[in-house]
Amino acid sequence: MELAVAHETIARWQFGVTTVYHFLFVPLTISLSAMVAGLETAWVRTGKEKYFHATKFWGKLFLINIAMGVVTGIVQEFQFGMNWSDYSRFVGDVFGAPLAMEALIAFFFESTFVGLWIFGWDKLPKKLHAACIWVVAVGTMLSGYFILAANSWMQHPNGYTIDPVTKKAQLTDISKVLFQDTTLVVVFHTLTAAFLTGAAFMVGIASYHLWKAKRRPERSDGRQVASMRTSLRLGLVLAVVAGLGTAISGDSLAKVMFEQQPMKMASAEALWDTQGPAPFSIFAIGNVNEGHNSVELEFPGILSFLAKGDFSSAVPGITDTAKAEAAKYGGNPNDYIPNIFITYWGFRLMIGFGMTSFAAGLLGLWTTRRKFWLAPDKRTGADEPPRLMLTKHRELGPALTRWSWRIGIWTMGFPLIANSFGWIFTEMGRQPWAVFGLMTTASGVSPNVGTGTQLTSLIVFTALYAILAVIEVRLLVKYAKAGPDVAERPPAKDPTLRGPSPDEDADRPLAFAY
C-alpha cells in the first residue's frame, strides 16, 4: 500500500471504529435516560411500587450503558486533533464552536446531574431527584444536537466564508450552523431513531421476563411481572411513535440530501443513470467498474417520490453526478464516486432493521392490547404476563406465541444495527469529502503523525474497545436477567435537603455506594 494512502486509511478506520462503537451507547443513553425519567415521575406522582422497581431496574442498565458512552466520548473530543490536524486547522473556527458549546452547555449537565441521581436517593427530596434525571435526559439530547450541528456542517457547509489569506473556513453566522435544515432534520431523525433503540431494548428485555414468567408461572413473582408489563407497554408505544417519527424524518432527510448531496442518494440506490420516473431498488448487484447493475429488482416511481414528492421527476444518477462534480472541482469523475456496495447495502440495512423494529412494535401493541378490547375470559391481571391475542376471542397458537416472544427479544438488537449502518452510509456516502465541496478526507489527515503511531492507536483502541464490549455485555446480561429487585423498598420518608441532624442517623450507611 502506498504510504499516503495507508495514512488516510488507518485514520479513517480509527475514526470509523471509535465512532460507530461510541454510537452504540449514545442512542441508548439518550432514550433510556428519558424513559427512566418518565418511570420515576410516574412513581413520584402515583406512589405505585411497580414504577419504583422499573425505575431502579432500567436505571441500573442505563448506568452500565452511560459509563461506556461517556468514556468513549472522550476520544471523540480529541481525535480530530490527533489524526486529523489539517482538518482541525481548516474547520476549527466553525466546527469547534458547536463542540465547545456541547461540552459547556450539555455535557456538564449530564455528568454532574447523573452523579446527583446515582448517589442522591437518600439525600434529595423525591421530586428533586426525579428532576435530576430529567436534566440528564435533556442534557443528552442537547449533546446530540450540538454534535449533529457540527456534523451537518460537514454534510452541508453553511454560514462561513473562506479567509482569503489563510484559506481557512471562518464562521460568519452561527445560526446557519445551528438551525439550517440539514441540522434540524438530522436531529429529528437521530433522536427518533434513538428512542426507537431504547424502546426496542425495553421491549426485548421485558419480553424475556414475561415469556419466562409465562412458561414457569410457579417461579415468577407478580411484582416483577407487573413492572415488566408496564415496561413492555411503554416500550411498544414508544417503538411505534418513534418508529413513525424515524420514517417521517428519514423521508425529509432524504429529500434534503437529494438536494444537497445528490451523489450520496444516487449511491444509496445504486442508480447509475439519471432516470425519470426513478425506481426504488429492492435488490441489486452492481459492477462499479462498468457502471451498471448486473441484477436488480425495483419498484417503479418510488425513488422519484422519495426525492421530490411525486412519481415522475427525474433523479440524477451516479455517472452524471460524478461528471458534474469533476467539472466543478476538477479531476477524474471516478474520484467522486463513493463505495457503492457499502452505501447501497448500508442504506438498505438501516431502513430494513429500523422498520422491522417499528413493525414489531405495531404487532406487539396489537397482540397485547388492553383488557377492554378483549373477551372477559381472555383478560389478564396486572401481575400476569399478557396473553397474545389475534382477535377479540382468539389467542395466538403456541408456536406463534413462542415466536412472537422470540421476535420481541430479538428486536432489541435491530435498531443498533440500523443506527450503525445509517452512520456508515451517511459518512461513506459523502466521500471523498470530509467537508462537502470544501475539503477532501485525504487532505485532512495529520501530516506529522507516522503510520506506525497511527497503527498503534488503532490497535490499542480496537483491542481496548473489544475487551470493554465483552465486559459490558456480560454485565448487562447479568443485570437484565436478574430482573427488578422487588425486595427493594422505596425510601420510607422523603429526605430533606437539610440532611440528617448531626446525632440522628450519623452512622447510617449510604443508600448507594460504589
Binding site: F78, L104, S446, L510
Partner: protein
C-alpha cells in the same frame, strides 16, 4: 485586552479548573494504594469522589473543545504533536471511568481487585503525563513552519518535562490526601492528615525546583508573583494541616494548584506553543486564534454558562458534603 487574550485567559481558567478538581480525584485514586489498608477503606476513598469525578472530568473536555473553537491551531498542533502521551491519557481515562462504575457491579474478589488496581494506575499515569505535557508546552518543542510538531516521542521525555510530571503527580496526590482528610471520618482521616504533610513536603521540594527553573527560563514579573503565591499557599496548607484545619488546608492546597498552573500559563503568554526551531514558528495567541466572530460568540456562551456550571457543581458538593467513614459503606450488592 483583546478577544484572543480573553480566550487565552479562559482556556487557562478551564485547565486550572480541571487540575483543581480532577487533581484531587486523581490523588484519591492514587491513595487507594498508598493510604487504604483494606477493601472497606478503598471503598471509602472511592466514594468520596463517586458523585463528582465525572463532572470534574468535563472540565477537560471543555478545555479541549474551547481550545478547538478559540485556537484551532493550538488544538491541532498540541494533540497531533503529543499523540502518544495523549493516547495513554485517553486510555487511562476510559478505563478509569469504567472502573468506578463497574467495580461494585460484581462481588468477586478478582473482579474488584482488578478494577481497584486499574483505578490506581489510571489515576497515576494521567497525573504524571499532564505535567509532562504542560512542561513541554511551556518549555517549547520542535515546531516547524507549517505549525507541526516534528520532534519524536522521546524528545517529550526530557528532564525538565519529567520533573514537571513528577511535580503534578506529587501535587495532585498531596491535594487528594488533603481532600481525603476533609471528606472522611475516623482512622483513615487521621492517617490522611499525616500522609498529606509528608506529601506536602515532597511536593514543596519538587515544585520549587521546577517553578524556579520555569521562572528562569521563561518567567516575568507576573509569573514570579504566581510562583510566590503557589509557594506560600503550599506552606499555608501544611500549617493548616498541622493545626487540624482541614477546610483551610484544602482551600490552600487548591490555591497551590491554581497558582502553579497559572504560573505556567503566565510564563507561556503571549505564546501558546513556543517553537524551539525558530521563534518565528511559535504559535501565539494571535496566529493560532479563531476569527473575531467566533471568539465573540464563544465569549457570550462562556459568560452565560460558566457561572451556571459553577453554581450547580458547587451545589453538588454541598449535597454530598457529609464526611464518609467505613461505617457508612453498605454491604456489597451482587
Amino acid at each position: 485586552m483583546q478577544l484572543h487574550d480573553v480566550w487565552f485567559l479562559l482556556i487557562a481558567v478551564l485547565w486550572i479548573g480541571y487540575f483543581f478538581l480532577e487533581g484531587f480525584d486523581f490523588g484519591v485514586g492514587i491513595l487507594t494504594r498508598l493510604l487504604a489498608r483494606d477493601r472497606a477503606e478503598r471503598r471509602v476513598l472511592i466514594n468520596t469522589i463517586g458523585p463528582v469525578w465525572d463532572g470534574n472530568e468535563v472540565w477537560l473536555l471543555t478545555a479541549g473543545g474551547a481550545t478547538f473553537a478559540a485556537f484551532p491551531d493550538w488544538y491541532a498542533t498540541l494533540f497531533s504533536g503529543f499523540y502518544l502521551p495523549l493516547l495513554v491519557i485517553l486510555v487511562c481515562l476510559i478505563v478509569r471511568g469504567v472502573a468506578f462504575e463497574y467495580r461494585h457491579k460484581r462481588t468477586g474478589e478478582r473482579w474488584q481487585r482488578s478494577w481497584e488496581l486499574a483505578i490506581f494506575w489510571t489515576s497515576l499515569l494521567p497525573a504524571f503525563l499532564w505535567g509532562v505535557a504542560f512542561a513541554n508546552i511551556v518549555h517549547g518543542v520542535d515546531i516547524d513552519r507549517e505549525k507541526n510538531y516534528v520532534g519524536s516521542f522521546w524528545d517529550l521525555l526530557n528532564p525538565y518535562a519529567i520533573l514537571g510530571g513528577l511535580v503534578t503527580l506529587a501535587l495532585f496526590t498531596f491535594h487528594g490526601a488533603v481532600f481525603t482528610a476533609l471528606k472522611t471520618v475516623g482512622d483513615i482521616r487521621l492517617r490522611a492528615r499525616v500522609l498529606a504533610q509528608q506529601l506536602g513536603l515532597l511536593t514543596a521540594v519538587l515544585a520549587l525546583v521546577f517553578l524556579v527553573w520555569t521562572q528562569a527560563h521563561r518567567g516575568d514579573g507576573w509569573s514570579l508573583a504566581a510562583l510566590v503565591v503557589a509557594v506560600l499557599a503550599l506552606v499555608g496548607a501544611l500549617l493548616a494541616l498541622r493545626a487540624g484545619r482541614e477546610g483551610w488546608a484544602f482551600l490552600l492546597s487548591g490555591l497551590t494548584v491554581v497558582a502553579a498552573v497559572a504560573m505556567l500559563f503566565l510564563s507561556l503568554f503571549p505564546d501558546v506553543m513556543p517553537s524551539t526551531l525558530d521563534p518565528a514558528y511559535s504559535l501565539t495567541v494571535t496566529n493560532a486564534a479563531s476569527s473575531p466572530y467566533t471568539l465573540k460568540l464563544m465569549t457570550v456562551v462562556a459568560a452565560v454558562f460558566t457561572p451556571i456550571v459553577l453554581l450547580y457543581q458547587a451545589w453538588t458538593y454541598w449535597v454530598f458534603r457529609k464526611r464518609i467513614g467505613v461505617q457508612h459503606i453498605p454491604a456489597e450488592q451482587g
